[in-house]
């Protein structure tokens, strides 16, 4: 090998090692900094529901709950819409329209999250408080999810804002998966006398099942970690409530809110432990999705 090639190889290996090192280093740093909190609260940190900086009592359950609930709402809303977009783009749309629409969706993904937060606060919250909330209570008020006074901000608002933010992720990934379904399979379907709908449902969706599942999980991953927009519309009330109208907190919103003015070692340590929990949740969610995609590729 020429000397230049060798140097280049070393450099490339080194660059990729930096990433691995960064992730491991980040994990270790989070772990070490949260030791005071882990020691003080132990496993109770995950199941306690109080966040009281005055008495230095910290529990993470409402934050974990809020993170999961808002992410699930967003997935429930965005997943069907995204699949619809992806089917339209890959199967139904004329080529010119496809390019324009793809571009607009990608643009949606590039809008700063702050903008979505402002939309949630200025437009969506009065709408939920005065229109959507009373409407839902009228027809579904017997369900515990829709009880209590709608203040406009809370789990529902955050879930809707998040769903708009993750539609680009899920729809563009699903489209890729649909496009990857071989053309001859579709043609085989038509040859058997299937209608367009049957081809989409049985051939395309059937083939792409694990792929769209992975796309959903990756969208979920983005929703779990979103911070700025959620903080603006979640309501920041440290509690657990089944009602989707109720204000709550997420892991990221607690960290954003409390970190800047945090005084005292224990509180900072508890905040870092929250970050550690989010790190672990995201790590497993992403790992799960990757595993699914890999399996799909290997099956081919």
């Amino acid at each position: 090998m020429r000397i230049g090639d060798r140097i280049f190889k070393i450099l490339a290996v080194f660059s990729s090692l930096i990433i691995v090192g960064l992730v491991i280093g980040l994990f270790i740093e989070l772990l070490v900094t949260s030791i005071p909190s882990i020691k003080k609260f132990g496993i109770k940190f995950i199941i306690d529901t109080v966040w009281d900086p005055v008495a230095e009592k910290f529990g993470a359950l409402p934050a974990i709950y809020g993170t999961l609930v808002t992410s699930l709402i967003s997935l429930l809303i965005s997943f069907p819409i995204s699949i619809g977009i992806a089917i339209f783009l890959s199967e139904l749309s004329p080529p010119f329209f496809r390019r324009t629409l793809s571009f607009i969706i990608e643009l949606l993904g590039a809008v700063p999250s702050l903008i979505y937060g402002m939309w949630g606060l200025f437009t969506l919250s009065p709408l939920i408080q005065l229109k959507v909330g009373p409407f839902l209570q009228n027809i579904l008020g017997f369900l515990p999810f829709f009880q209590g006074y709608p203040t406009g901000v809370g789990y529902l608002n955050a879930g809707v804002v998040l769903s708009i933010m993750i539609i680009p992720t899920i729809s563009s990934l699903s489209r890729e998966v649909f496009m990857a379904v071989p053309m001859d399979q579709r043609e085989a379907g038509y040859a058997l006398g299937m209608t367009k709908w049957e081809v989409i449902r049985k051939v395309v969706l059937g083939n792409a099942k694990s792929g769209i599942f992975a796309a959903g999980i990756l969208g979920l991953g983005r929703a779990l970690g979103e911070a700025v927009a959620v903080t603006m519309v979640i309501g920041n009330f440290y509690n657990i409530s089944v009602s989707l109208f109720s204000p709550g907190v997420t892991i990221t919103s607690v960290i954003i809110n409390e970190f800047v003015e945090a005084v005292g070692g224990l509180k900072i340590s508890a905040l870092i432990e929250l970050a550690l929990i989010l790190f672990i949740i995201t790590f497993f969610v992403m790992g799960f999705a990757r595993y699914y995609i890999l399996r799909r590729i290997e099956n081919k």
Partner: protein
């Protein structure tokens, strides 16, 4: 090429000479709009540049303790013994009032609220605006029957510190259940991030009540309440009433003080100082002198700008006490003059 290099070198030298003195400060966000104006004006007349980073009171205290800045700034006072322990002095720079703001359809500025009612609202005990406890204080106002939504800061803040000290003072129940601090375990309501976050919630959500620094209440055109003071009068959070409160509230040498519930017929009951933190033992004589001249300039020339921006100038006696404290600064064991 050579000529250009020489030119660049000369330019560098010249700019170096001009940027001779730079003071670095960091901390509180509440006085930042005023500090930015003050430091700009100060640089124009003195040539001393002040670089201020509004990174939050807690971080400001940490930075001055770590010695990475020339002065720190905080909205909540550091107790005297902590000042001693870190070899710091703390002096107030300016003061401000905290307004109770609300969004009730059809109700403008001047809703009358007693201390007990404010505490009960924030304790979640008064739930609707047409509660007899509120309507009996405001017989002339038509208050609709809508739910009260409490809005407070979700981030740690000096404003919350002052407001919760007020609630703890007027309500034993609040003191026992929640207490006071830059961030507390709220019983009810929704949290907005920063003064702007709270203002945003109050503007957009019907039936809300919250607390804001006066500046933000005025800038956002939000109606604010008259609060009953110690003397039994309902007063607005306006500059003369806050000045009256500061005038009537005794301060100690360490300035660890919350000027809350002051006596006097015009005194507005919820106000607070914001502070500068300076190291006692100065390592650089020129910088120390610059700092002292900065504080002197603020006390002498800063009042008008402060009032323009709805901050409240310090009473004369507080200024003289602070200047007295400034004499504790020393360089290599010798006082600085």
């Amino acid at each position: 090429m050579k000529r250009i290099l020489i030119l660049v070198l000369i330019l560098l030298l010249v700019t170096n000479v001009k940027a001779a003195m730079l003071l670095n400060g960091a901390g509180a966000t509440f006085p930042y709009p005023l500090y930015a104006r003050w430091f700009y004006d100060f640089e124009k007349i003195s040539g001393i540049k002040v670089n201020y980073q509004p990174i939050g009171s807690g971080a400001g205290i940490q930075q001055i303790q770590a010695g990475t800045v020339d002065f720190g700034a905080s909205d909540s006072p550091l107790p005297g013994k902590d000042q001693q322990a870190s070899n710091l002095i703390m002096i107030p720079s300016v003061a401000g009032g905290i307004a109770i703001v609300y969004n009730i359809p059809g109700v403008g500025k001047g809703l009358k609220l007693s201390r007990e009612v404010i505490a009960d609202i924030f304790l979640g005990k008064i739930k609707t605006w047409d509660d007899p406890k509120i309507t009996s204080l405001n017989p002339n106002m038509k208050i609709p029957k809508i739910n009260i939504t409490v809005v407070r800061r979700s981030d740690g803040s000096g404003t919350t510190d002052i407001f919760t000290h007020f609630l703890s003072l007027v309500s034993p129940e609040w003191k026992e259940k929640v207490g006071a601090g830059t961030s507390v375990n709220w019983i009810t309501g929704i949290g907005g991030r920063g003064n702007m976050g709270v203002a945003g919630y109050i503007k957009n959500i019907v039936g809300t009540i919250g607390y804001l620094e006066l500046t933000y209440a005025v800038q956002n055109n939000l109606p604010y309440a008259m609060v009953k003071n110690k003397a039994g009068n309902f007063v607005y959070p306006e500059i003369p009433n806050i000045e009256a409160a500061l005038e009537n509230f005794p301060v100690q040498k360490d300035f660890y003080v919350y000027p809350i519930d002051a006596k006097g017929k015009d005194s507005y009951p919820i106000s607070g100082y914001t502070f500068l933190l300076i190291r006692k033992n100065q390592g650089n004589l020129e910088k120390a002198k610059a700092l002292i001249s900065l504080v002197n300039w603020i006390y002498k020339e800063g009042d008008k700008t402060a009032k323009d921006l709805y901050y409240v100038p310090l009473p004369q006696k507080v200024k003289s006490m602070a200047l007295e404290r400034l004499k504790e600064l020393n360089y290599q064991g010798k006082p600085i003059h």
